[in-house]
């Protein structure tokens, strides 16, 4: 009780806005639809899970007179049921379709978000080439006139399948069985991949498989994931790669062999569940990344002045709400399953943890409130 109350007082100066919710079940998914809604989904095995489309509390989208809007709750705008654990969910931009990936990993599920009711309905499945029972395929979407779903468990099984015709429009065509940890579509014909070993590559789907990648084997070990900064964001290295031993590397896509900087983050290592590792670039806060997956915190770093010398760094901000808000104590503290930045509000993030908590927080930047 004490610790929770102390933290609450602390939070008065640490956060501008802070909302904490308890979902029915924990989620590993936080996928935006526009800037007012997110999707969450359950990942329990052998149980019926829910996929929910949640609308953010209205007051978070209001620019003026925020004080006159008392509603602080999420609205469940749509809901659906999945018989499988949902480990990833991607919205197909410009449509009312969703693609989910989960366990068992032999197929992807396509859903439709109803327009005239609040139901999310399963509409079709996409068979996964070389699918495996216990590994779920990574997914990313090529959004265009004919959306294509990029997916794969290993490099050898990487495919792009046209959503409507279900025809495979691209295949990696390699026999390399390295396991994938992230897939990210960058534009109409490029995507990036990151393998669990830390191997990174950029692929142009107009040509046969010839990625620009870091070929030197990763001596650091552990499990890795990565994210690439969106277009039009601040200059500087645009690839961030996170390892389960707490290492964070920044790379330039034109020279993946030589990281621009490599630092050690002050996190408990190794990560208790490296599959949950996540590194994200802030969409509207220059040169900031957030990481999670080591404990019950989300850490934000300003990478502007990082250089090759590496070594220890200190986070700009650490969100400890999931640990302290409900008095868990450090023994039974939950683990962050995923986090995401608000597309528009520079310092607002959403974070979800293994205890089904979901936080929306807007931290106060250095120098007082933004």
């Amino acid at each position: 009780m004490e610790a929770a109350e102390n933290w609450l007082v602390e939070s008065l100066r640490l956060y501008q806005d802070f909302h904490a919710f308890e979902l029915l079940a924990a989620t590993r998914v936080l996928e935006w639809i526009g800037d007012k809604g997110v999707f969450v989904a359950g990942y329990e095995r052998l149980k019926r899970n829910e996929i929910l489309h949640l609308l953010l509390p209205f007051r978070l989208s209001v620019k003026e007179n925020q004080g006159l809007f008392p509603e602080r709750d999420f609205k469940v705008r749509h809901g659906g049921f999945s018989d499988r654990a949902v480990c990833d969910l991607k919205h197909v931009p410009g449509t009312r379709l969703l693609v989910t990936s989960g366990l068992p990993g032999c197929s992807l599920q396509v859903w439709q978000v109803a327009e005239d009711s609040d139901i999310i309905k399963a509409v079709s499945t996409i068979a996964v080439d070389e699918g495996e029972e216990s590994l779920w395929p990574r997914v990313s979407v090529f959004s265009s006139m004919a959306p294509g779903v990029l997916h794969g468990v290993r490099l050898s099984g990487l495919r792009v399948v046209d959503l409507e015709s279900q025809k495979t429009t691209y295949a990696s065509g390699v026999t390399d069985g390295e396991e994938l940890s992230s897939l990210q579509v960058l534009d109409a014909h490029t995507f990036a991949f990151c393998c669990t070993s830390g191997r990174l590559g950029l692929v142009d789907i107009r040509h046969q498989w010839a990625p620009s990648e870091n070929l030197s084997p990763n001596p650091r070990g552990g499990r890795w994931c990565a994210e690439i900064k969106g277009q039009g964001q601040s200059p500087g290295p645009s690839v961030a790669s996170l390892g389960s031993e707490g290492q964070l590397s920044l790379l330039d896509p034109r020279n993946l062999d030589h990281p621009v900087s490599s630092v050690q983050c002050p996190v408990p290592t190794p990560s208790p569940d490296p599959e949950l590792l996540r590194v994200t670039w802030a969409p509207s806060l220059g040169n900031c990344v957030a990481i999670s997956g080591f404990d019950g915190t989300v850490q934000v770093y300003d990478v502007t002045s990082w250089d090759r010398t590496g070594g220890q760094v200190e986070p700009l901000f650490t969100h400890r709400g999931h640990i302290f808000l409900d008095d868990h104590g450090t023994d039974t503290a939950p683990l962050i399953t995923t986090h995401t930045w608000h597309p528009r509000k520079p310092r607002t993030l959403l974070s979800a943890a293994s205890d089904a908590s979901l936080h929306v927080w807007d931290w106060v930047g250095p120098g007082g409130s933004c």
Partner: protein, 570 residues
């Protein structure tokens, strides 16, 4: 009739329910056995005096004791605003409120109340606000539970709703908040603390208009808990009217609050806080920061309005409205964004910060599922939602609990099939006779029992047919069927009969087949006699006769014999 609320959004007739749904011509008292009010919020009791005194109802109105005490106060407040402030005509009067309350019968939690010899009701704790209850309504073995507004998580001054596994045929619940996921209580409190803190830090004054009960209590406890931690020195005040009233009610209804409050109250005065002092009007003009809780809650009169007028012009100050304000009040105006007000012929410019905070505790999607799990109803009915926005919740409830879920629109009637259980006494003789049959009772395999059901004076008994006949003084009648089977056979009748006997004996090995001295053949109780055809000596007529009880065997025998007899070796 469950609840009798007022619609806050309308100023005309639409603000009151349309009672013609109950009856168009008759007296409401003839159509309603009773009215139940779940709690004192105006959207649940605001139309009560209109209903009972202006439309006309003289039957009992049930509610909990706190509701009975608080309702009239809120109704009078509301009446004052409507009539004095907005100049409404055709509104209920103070006398009508009094007359209406005379019809109220107050109930205790978990007390079974007999409304008449068939109908009984029982109240359950609902949390939400002081005195709020959920009601179980029962007739015989059929029951309905109406939840009103409830809350499944305890707060600083009220506990959480609770109901036992009463397994009603139907659970009626609010669905307005069913499609929300509530922000935690801690975060709401944090927001309140933050706003107060920021204002006080910059030297401003915070006005919190409150109704005497509920929220005021909660917020005071909150500030008291954190004032020291936040190292704040500014004074916090409570207008005295508030203290007296609140103390009075809490004393009366101490069992309705949560454990913590009860403990505190027993030790001292409810409102004896370390940092919170009684307010004096003179303090309004004191310089420097301060926080004041004052009544009434909607800034429509009295002390809170006086303070507001003095502080509104300074942008360092803040007013925090902790609840809904009825149209026509200053509270409602400033919450709508109005910054220039006309008061007593003068213009008032509102420069102070206006904050609208919602502390009301409602069950959300999770809460509804919890309650359904607790009560285990056979069916669920969701009210006050939009059908298109509740499809998912309906599916959730149906799939998780395997119950039907209804979402009727306003004015729609829902009919639910129920399977009432009727207790029937079985006579010992009949039971013993069945037991003698030899087979042991098996809970997994129901066994068919034959008897006669006698219904007399609301009493149901199952007895043997013989006993029933005896009791009713009736003679038993037997039905006997006779069928004629024509067979071509030149032999004599006696020979024919013998052949029939051999044939049947060889086929019906499980049955008792006998050849009687008079030539007839019996199979169990069935009689077969051979006779010559009156006109054709080569055709024989077999008369097959059986009782109604042996219908099946009789029909079988007939069709068997129709097939003819096998050629016998000579």
């Amino acid at each position: 009739m469950l609840d009798c609320g007022m619609h806050m959004g309308y100023n005309d007739d639409r603000r009151f329910p349309d009672f013609s749904y109950i009856t168009r011509n008759g007296r409401l008292t003839d159509f309603l056995d009773c009215v139940i009010i779940s709690h004192f919020h105006l959207d649940h009791c605001g139309a009560l005096p209109y209903f009972s005194e202006m439309v006309g109802y003289d039957g009992p109105i049930y509610m909990t004791h706190p509701t009975q005490a608080i309702c009239p106060i809120l109704l009078e407040d509301y009446r004052k605003i409507a009539v004095d402030k907005k100049g409404e005509a055709n509104f209920f009067t103070s006398q009508m409120i009094k007359d209406c309350m005379k019809k109220v019968v107050a109930v205790h939690l978990h007390q079974t109340v007999q409304v008449d010899d068939e109908l009984e009701i029982k109240a359950y704790y609902a949390g939400h606000v002081l005195g709020a209850a959920m009601f179980q309504i029962k007739v015989g073995s059929e029951s309905v539970v109406y939840t009103g507004d409830y809350n499944m998580t305890p707060d600083r001054h009220l506990g959480a709703a609770w109901i036992d596994k009463c397994r009603p045929n139907l659970l009626i619940t609010e669905s307005t908040y069913a499609t929300t996921i509530r922000d935690s209580k801690r975060c709401r409190e944090r927001d309140f603390l933050k706003k107060v803190h920021e204002t006080v830090e910059r030297g401003g004054k915070v006005l919190i208009p409150v109704f005497a009960l509920g929220r005021a209590q909660e917020l005071c406890i909150l500030l008291e808990t954190f004032w020291e931690r936040m190292n704040l020195k500014a004074p916090i005040y409570f207008s005295t009217g508030l203290t007296e009233k609140a103390n009075h009610y809490y004393k009366l209804f101490i069992t309705w609050t949560n454990q913590k409050i009860r403990k505190t109250f027993v030790q001292r005065n409810m409102f004896e806080f370390k940092h919170i002092k009684a307010f004096d009007r003179a303090f309004t003009d004191n310089p420097g920061p301060m926080v004041v809780f004052a009544t009434p809650g909607m800034l429509h009169a009295g002390q809170s309005l006086q303070i507001f007028r003095k502080w509104a012009g300074n942008e360092k100050n803040m007013v925090i409205m902790p609840g809904y304000c009825v149209q026509g009040t200053v509270g409602h105006k400033i919450l709508s964004g109005q910054r220039k007000l006309e008061m007593e012929g003068r213009q008032l410019e509102v420069k102070m910060q206006v904050e609208y905070m919602s502390f009301s505790a409602h069950a959300d999607a999770k809460g509804i599922m919890q309650l359904v799990r607790q009560a285990e109803p056979e069916a669920v009915l969701l009210v006050h939602g939009e059908a298109k926005k509740m499809e998912f919740l309906k599916q959730k409830i149906e799939q998780e609990f395997r119950v039907s879920c209804y979402m009727p629109a306003n004015g729609e009637t829902v009919t639910l099939p129920t399977s009432p259980s009727i207790p029937v006494g079985i006579s010992l003789g009949l039971l013993k006779r069945e037991m003698v049959q030899g087979l042991l009772p098996n809970t997994k395999k129901p066994r068919l029992l034959h008897g006669t059901l006698i219904m007399k004076d609301n009493n149901f008994r199952l007895v043997s047919s013989e006993q029933a006949l005896k009791e009713l003084g009736l003679a038993e009648h037997q039905l006997r069927f006779t069928c004629r089977v024509h067979l071509h056979d030149p032999r004599k009748e006696q020979e024919m009969a013998l052949r029939v006997y051999s044939h049947l004996k060889s086929i019906l090995k499980d049955h008792c087949v006998q050849h009687l001295p008079d030539g007839s053949v019996t199979v169990e109780s069935i009689l077969v006699q051979a006779a010559a055809h009156s006109e054709d000596p080569n055709t024989k007529v077999l008369l097959v006769s059986w009782t109604y009880q042996d219908e099946e065997l009789g029909s079988y025998l007939t069709s068997l014999l129709k097939k003819g007899l096998p050629q016998a070796p000579s």
